[in-house]
Symmetry: D2
Subunit: 494 residues, 4 copies
């Protein structure tokens, strides 16, 4: 027994040491070459060693096989060393898949294997050619118009994903004129969050320049009552994507006002758009974005949670019709205690009630998957939790299936398909909503709850309606900016 | 304008005076003759004048027609006067219906009309023949075994419905041995409730006799670890119905232990029973109760909420299959903050999470409506509200229908059918869960939320999972005791 | 045992019948003669019989002495009969005290006793002389400017206390322009409340006149962005008291804008006033109100809760210095989830946090009790409950005392002094905050928690920061209107 | 502007790279030499690079001086390199202080400076002599008896602080017999937490050995109903410290039952002990622990929060008398919704109420600071938050002081005294309770709220009543085990 205990300890210490080395390499590759590494869909950049280890174990084929974990660590080190040698340009690499592929092919020369996988003939370093680009980059300016729940999480994501500064560059946030300590208060709201915890890193205030400096990103705070009163260009901001988080404008006429501001280039609305505005759910219809689209919407959190899953189900079984009931955390749009609200029931105390409300989230799915037009209805029940929601999809499929088949398909999709960033699959008997705070995925299928009877499928999809949604918005932003890196290995279509 | 104001005031004062008189008559008829009066399904006994007025207005055909309300009040007074003259025996009378019937037939001689409606030839007073019975009564002893949320609400109902003492007679509550101030603590829990408010009336403690005296009902508090260790007979309790609220025993073998106690007659479990135990949903299958049934279950709160509605829908349209998702308030079975629990997910903090759990409530419907066997699935999502839940019925019907048709049918059923005590129908645009605390019905249809597309119906049914359910338990108890009074006018089958 | 049970039941039925009769008389005296009756400080008007009984028992000297309760009921009936005979004018009568006084003096001729107590020589009916006045009354128009938490409770109080229409007459509420269903929405907010429950009575909407009719009170709903844009006079409203519940204006300059509106007479602010505005705590300094005061403040809920108690303590022991820590329910001024707020910490989620904030409530006490100027400090901790707060007074007295002495004094003050409407005293071992929702008093001393060590006193004062405070505002309103009825028997100075 | 932006980015990338290197060295020093490094009281081990950077900035003298941060990073690297060369034995080093000292002395030869600071003559490596010890160590077995909120956090701390395995070694947890999936459920409760988030690392289950393996620590899960029924020795556990988290036993008689189990050595109760048991508040009276103390108590969370602060205040100003009001998060000892509880008020719904209760936390201070015997009173108000509490100390001092003086003193104490692990000092205008989840300190002074008037001081002390307290328990455990490492630089007495 005592031997066991020491053996386990010794092995753990070795694993920690390996994880420390992995963390170093992951950071260097990111900063120097713009390489974004992930394991089974989970981004590694910025993680502590212990979390890297946790991720490896969770994504291992046999998490209880300690020898397997040792080997996986060794492989990862080899792969990362090879990458460091190759110096690839900006690329998003899933190490789990790369390492599995390398091992499958014999596991002999990682540099050679990776060059092949990356389409780099021996001797060619992409860094060489891409050096210029890497130096002054193609950084795209981004402005957050509105600094509420979604605005602040987007700020955190833009700051922590700033990398070498060549992708999206958060340049300004626009807020309504507040008061004396406005700048400090905005910085404080970025620093602390009752739901998501403290900002990882440092936030300081530069009163003289009305700016916040966060982890090396300098952000101008602009007070303005209206979009057209701002001159971004005068602040050195050019061709910026304006991300509207206010919910104040929903149609083209309103959102076009942003484009009247010098320095504004495109607009992304973080809410469902009205009229002809394209509603983009990343992973499902982001390929419809064209250079001509000056105004886009990233749809709603609920639409993002369910559309990728519906894409999979529609393709596999066909959806005859269905209903989506989303049990949703309260949002700041509701009231603490009963008070006036223009929307039905939404004025009643969010802290004390279940509040049944209408939602367009289910019908909006058809904007991304036209085949579902007219097939879905939806309602929402707001409940007193501050974050994370649960969509219950009740679908009549066109083809009968079984619980195991649906679960296996979604598990597979979550592990390795083109929708792996959008869909997660969990089967944990003790899972509850708060466990999913901070999930990067658009939706997380709760496999243990799936019910199937012939053509009738009831599927439970959790989502962090703040963080998971903001990650989807980020993906749309990257695509709009052309900053979405090449992804390797190529994902299998879902 | 000023004239209007005075006229409105004058009319209101007259209405209040009339309501005061109605309250007096309602009380006297109840206490002296055991007459239970209600208006459109809402019991009048014990209400304040203002609430009687509120009820009249709400149940009026045209609530805004003030002259109509005046006339209704006048009619009610006439009807109540006539009843006082007739002296009927114990009977449950819906005054709305009686008064409408009388008016329909010309509104001339209320005494004659009522005698006809009550099947009493002129000159015969049921009181005469029933006098003996009314004097020493057929009071049936009841014991509450367990004094948790349901036990305490049942105590409140038994006490406030005790009337002349001829129906159900709460004789004892059985609790686990507590400590020094046990009796006072139990009395206090009866007196105050964080959700349902203060007990209406007075609760005092008689330490010498280990009893609580509540509104004239003397209740023995028995400390016992096990059912068979109690001698009810020695306390003068005979042939009692033991209401088991503990959830400790679920099957016949366990519940039979209650019958081993001298003085125990029958057992009613306030939870779903396992095995061969009949699960009774009042209004749906209470007519299957026989004198031989010594052990019965009143099913669960959710089953009570949905079964009456499903009865109506099955009869009208046929149910091909369906799923019931109930968004449920937390219960004391869960934990405040994460801790151990034998059930999956139920150990996680109920105050902080949505907790997805299994429920047998949907499949249990088939015990009351055999035609639905195998047709329904169900799940439950526990959320951080303390009371009132919402069942979402997603049904594929056998016959297509429309939203209006379903709503009209359920509205009608709620107003005047045999299921009018079980089903309520509301169409209030600002309704939220806390508005329904204290509802007497098993389930309340939220008509504004109903969705129908051909054969697919999504129906939202609220329920006070504590109070509404306890009212259903009371109805089963009354039937078990033969204490359920004659109901007039006879309700139209749903 | 069985005899006991029947005897208890029989007695209870008789008590209920007596209570029914008492309710009738109480209602008639109120409506016809403007007589406001109460028992030990608890208003009887509008109560159900059962609650009248509960009140009698709770206010009885020996609540467990059932014979005593019987006698009390009989006495009350005699007193009420005598009052009905005497026909007194508008007066507020505490029946507990009147009945005790009558009994003390021999309990022989209640009419003679009451005439003496009411200062009415035999044969004189105040009704005779006051008839004229009673007919067209001295009703004072009241306008609620703002319809938030406090505004809506004031509306409920004004409506249910409207009586014969001779005191305060709610004529209008002013709201910010809302939208299409504005009137219906305001009516709905009056009808339902997640904390205080349903409105007692009926609320209907008169769209044509932009009015709400509630229990016979016709209320104009005025949409206005600014005070001076309203013409009350054109709506037949004259010399009205404008109750400002918006918190938008705090100083004389801002509040005077209300007086610019034709028809406005005086202004009462339901928040602490700034500058020279008198802060009135009813029961403590309402006697400083003069006819010249056109703008008054009713101070804050916390100031109202603690000032009466501090008045008593200052008079009895002298207060050297002290600190008031109030643990306060959240208010709509805070945010559901973190968001911007001009005040420190108040922007952070009220539903998830303890929020430490500054409060002027303790220093504002000196506006009502100048002797305490500079002696008190205060802070507030907002916590996630929706209503009812707890002030912890930590005082260094000038004279040493004991726990028993302080408690006995405050118990006495709560029972019979001039501050009996302001101060309640409870000693219930299981009391928690939700039990006090709906308390009419400004503050409720929790006697079991009192700590005294020599000159150091720690006193716990609960308060319903919405309802109890609104009752205090009503009292100020009545005094401003000269509508505060004569109070009998005269209260002993605290 | 654009230059600024790039310059900031460049600097940040360099800082991140430096932080990565620091993380590697910190991990290696910990694992190989048992060196625990911290910055300004915050432990560095296991942190992500970004959090190391955040900590450096927060602890920097001028957080906005970016050049200063650069220099600090460079210094830290030098210091860590020197330490790696020196190979010190197990020691706890505050790098902020070490680096400042080295710079003060000229900042020339870090190895020489550190050797001096560590009392190591040149050429001597402690590792050499201590090698034997480092290899098989003096690891002390620890058993967690009870696995509730505190038990689980202690498990997390013991596992993540296991280091090279030479200090405290968590060998077993004892739980009440649960059911079929007991082991998996316990593992899951360790893995997920609704308040503290996911376990950092990996938790797997070894059903065959009834063990959990967490980050290399193998933990036996023992099901037992009573302490004396366990044979730890048979499981290879010897002379273990049994940490009783059940709250079931409070006095010596009860706790001695643990010592009856073979393999048990000492007992530590994580609750206030009754009778003669020593209540230890680490930092204040842990020096009174002797080898003879077989049973100790770590006092309560509240006592731990306030005692260190009271120690400082008593020494500086003298405390004449005072009262402690603690506004406390609910705990699992309370009920979700009203139900029976032996304690007054504690049975009432914790999720819905403020619950005023007694607490011995203030009087228990005297067990650690005898001079305060009889001088303090205390009460507790439980409110609906799940974690973090706030103690309000209202003290009459013997010497007058000022707000600034008190705050400066406590700030200093928190930064560098012997109580720096116990006391934190914050002055953030937007701070609320949830920001302090996960604080390692016993209590955190909220400097902005401090009130002083002559001798009257009101001080606000936050505490994570779960995590902060558990850290204090860990410190007592380390001392009991002799595993508390040497601390350098020596802290200045508070």
């Amino acid at each position: 027994m005592d031997t066991d205990i020491r053996e386990h300890r010794r092995r753990w210490l070795a694993q920690e040491a390996a994880a420390d080395r992995i963390v170093s390499r992951v950071g260097a590759l990111y900063r120097t070459h713009g390489v974004v590494t992930s394991l089974g869909g989970r981004r590694l950049i910025g993680l502590a060693s212990i979390d890297v280890l946790g991720t490896i174990t969770r994504t291992a084929v046999h998490p209880d096989d300690l020898t397997g974990v040792d080997r996986e660590l060794a492989d990862l080190e080899l792969i990362l060393d090879a990458l460091t040698e190759i110096e690839p340009g900006p690329v998003s690499l899933d190490l789990t898949a790369l390492s599995a592929g390398w091992r499958r092919e014999g596991g002999t020369d990682p540099v050679r294997h990776l060059r092949a996988a990356l389409d780099l003939p021996a001797g060619v370093s992409p860094a060489a050619g891409a050096g210029e680009q890497r130096d002054h980059g193609e950084a795209r300016d981004v402005v957050l118009y509105g600094f509420g729940r979604i605005g602040r999480i987007l700020a955190r994501l833009l700051i922590t994903h700033a990398g070498g500064g060549h992708g999206l560059r958060l340049r300004a946030i626009v807020v309504r004129p507040g008061g004396e300590n406005d700048l400090k208060k905005r910085a404080s709201l970025l620093r602390h969050d009752s739901v998501h915890g403290d900002f990882p890193g440092t936030v300081t205030v530069d009163e003289a320049n009305s700016s916040i400096l966060a982890n090396g990103t300098l952000i101008r705070v602009i007070s303005a009552a209206d979009p057209e009163s701002i001159d971004y260009a005068a602040l050195g901001i050019h061709d910026a994507i304006i991300v509207d988080n206010t919910g104040r404008f929903r149609d083209a006429a309103g959102l076009e006002r942003h484009l009247a501001a010098p320095g504004a280039g495109r607009v992304l609305l973080t809410a469902p758009g009205r009229g002809a505005i394209k509603n983009v759910v990343f992973g499902v219809n982001d390929d419809t974005i064209t250079a001509e689209d000056r105004i886009l919407s990233a749809a709603s959190c609920t639409t993002n949670a369910i559309t990728p899953v519906l894409r999979v189900l529609q393709d596999a079984y066909g959806v005859d019709h269905g209903h989506v009931e989303t049990v949703h955390s309260f949002t700041n749009d509701q009231n603490l205690i009963d008070n006036f609200h223009t929307g039905d029931r939404r004025g009643r105390s969010a802290a004390l009630n279940m509040v049944l409300t209408e939602t367009g989230a289910a019908t909006a799915v058809a904007k991304a998957i036209p085949a579902l037009a007219g097939k879905l209805t939806g309602s929402s029940i707001r409940v007193p939790t501050p974050n994370v929601s649960l969509a219950v999809l009740n679908l009549e499929l066109e083809t009968a299936t079984t619980r195991d088949e649906v679960n296996e398909r979604l598990h597979r999709v979550a592990a390795s398909s083109t929708l792996r960033q959008q869909i997660d699959f969990v089967a944990e008997p003790e899972l509850v909503s708060s466990d999913l705070v901070g999930s990067h995925r658009a939706g997380i299928v709760d496999g243990l709850a799936t019910i199937v009877r012939d053509k009738n499928l009831i599927l439970y999809v959790w989502y962090d309606n703040e963080f998971g949604y903001s990650c989807q918005v980020m993906r749309v932003l990257e695509r709009m900016a052309g900053a979405h890196p090449r992804v390797l290995p190529a994902r299998v279509p879902a």
